[in-house]
């Protein structure tokens, strides 16, 4: 039962890679989500338009299509960009940037979930009492300070349930990077399954790892929820 025929260490390494990929994409998605939400709430028409375009386009097209577009077209785009630089600088800038699967995985997942997070954060920002922000401004705080000291700590309480949800979906989406050539857990497990003809032996443990990560993150989010709800009366 527990004899993985030499595939064990590889799959374990794949699990670590999956976790790294998920966490890095989460950071990117968090930042893009905040920017997107602030753009949607802003009075500037341009910022508004850009963030609406971003969230609509990303959420209307399957993740896998974005991944394939970036993976198969990414190198061409990068090459075209540096060719342009080469021509513009008369050959002084000569860079070849090989496109890396891990980076493109993080970028795609981060960009996709940034769009979902924008919606979460937008709802959370709207749930903060306007009076709080006005009070901050009345104290003479800059808008950056208002965001950091007043808006962010209060909006996080409302954002956490949505954030937890997005994280669970993001975690499962990382399984798709196996298709664009990244040796993550799912790819290694499915290759082992195909070559040994024993699908359940390798795929079930991989599924269990996902379940374990999601159970563990439930605990983390419960803790965060308590933390950000400090000082709020519960009904």
């Amino acid at each position: 039962m527990f004899d993985f025929q030499g595939y064990g260490p590889g799959i374990f390494g794949g699990a670590i890679l999956t976790i790294e990929l998920a966490l890095l994409s989460l950071v990117l998605a968090f930042i893009l989500g905040l920017l997107g939400a602030l753009g949607k709430m802003s009075h500037s028409r341009l910022a508004n338009g850009i963030s609406t375009f971003y969230t609509t386009l990303i959420r209307g097209v399957p993740d896998l299509v974005w991944m394939m577009l970036l993976f198969f077209g990414g190198q061409i785009m990068v090459n075209a960009f540096f060719d342009m630089l080469y021509n513009l600088s008369d050959g002084r800038i000569d860079i070849y940037l090989p496109f890396n699967e891990f980076t493109s995985g993080v970028l795609t997942i981060g960009f996709i979930f940034g769009a979902y997070m924008s919606e979460t954060f937008r709802g959370a920002i709207m749930a903060v009492d306007v009076g709080q922000i006005e009070a901050g401004k009345a104290y003479g705080m800059s808008s950056m300070k208002v965001f950091r000291r007043i808006l962010f700590p209060q909006m996080m309480r409302h954002a956490i349930p949505g954030l937890a949800n997005n994280w669970q979906v993001l975690l499962k989406t990382t399984a798709l990077v196996s298709v664009i050539g990244l040796a993550d857990m799912v790819r290694l497990a499915s290759e082992a399954a195909k070559s040994t003809g024993q699908p359940f032996k390798f795929l079930l443990p991989a599924a269990l790892v996902y379940l374990a990560i999601s159970a563990l993150s439930d605990l983390v989010f419960k803790h965060l929820n308590v933390r950000y709800s400090a000082g709020v009366e519960r009904g």
Partner: protein, 233 residues
């Protein structure tokens, strides 16, 4: 820049291929939503049961199917059915030889798990007064379910369910990873034939975008009709 796009899309074979992919995607999504939805109604009723022996197995089912990637579920079913003893000699092999039915089973079970939780939330949100009134009228459990609880629960579930439908459309693109030629599978073929990633994947992305907007428009109409009484005046 546009020459390759013109040569790709002036070839009728491209359009036939995309059309076949479109048909496969629509069939897969529609059938899995149908089967998944039919499974989800009894499962959701079981999930809300006060008897632990009834609700716990359903909880396990939804927890496992919602907690693991659909890709793993698909691989397990696709590679797993070949392990069943003697299936390759039986008449079932005609069905399971291709990737369509394994994909359909995986998608239907997956969407059943999500839909069960959506329906459960809607059933549990039934106002207590409505149930008490039904009891006061002397309705038994089955009649209460059929006449009072389920009709209003289905209405309340519509907004969340529309998300699930779009989610299913998007996840159906992973069917292309087990040799099925759905929309994305067709795009991958076009990409491989012409080595034109942008033309192939951007065009298919636009098709998915249009279907998504179509589904959203349909659900907006349904919501207008079914949830009109909840609209803020």
């Amino acid at each position: 820049m546009f020459e390759s796009a013109i040569s790709i899309f002036s070839n009728p074979d491209t359009w036939y291929h995309y059309w076949d992919g479109f048909v496969t995607t629509v069939q897969l999504v529609f059938l899995s939503l149908l089967v998944g939805g039919l499974l989800a109604v009894p499962l959701a009723i079981m999930r809300t049961s006060k008897n632990r022996f009834i609700s716990w197995p359903v909880w396990c089912f939804t927890y496992v199917f919602r907690g693991t990637p659909l890709l793993i579920q698909l691989y397990m079913i696709y590679y797993g059915v070949t392990l069943i003893d003697g299936i390759q000699e039986s008449i079932w092999w005609v069905i399971f030889e291709g990737a369509f039915y394994p994909a359909l089973i995986a998608f239907a079970l997956n969407t059943a798990a999500y839909t069960t939780e959506i329906f459960r939330g809607a059933i549990e949100a039934t106002p207590r007064g409505e149930i008490e009134a039904a009891k006061a009228y002397g309705m038994n459990w089955a009649k209460r379910m059929r006449r009072i609880i389920l009709p209003s629960a289905f209405r309340r579930a519509i907004p969340a369910y529309s998300n699930e439908v779009i989610f299913m459309l998007h996840s159906s693109s992973i069917a292309s990873l087990v040799t099925l030629i759905d929309l994305l599978g067709a795009a991958r073929d076009i990409y491989a034939r012409y080595y034109a990633p942008f033309e192939a994947f951007i065009s298919i992305g636009l098709v998915y975008l249009c279907i998504t907007f179509g589904i959203l428009a349909i659900f907006k109409q349904i919501e207008k009709r079914m949830l009109g009484h909840l609209k803020p005046r």
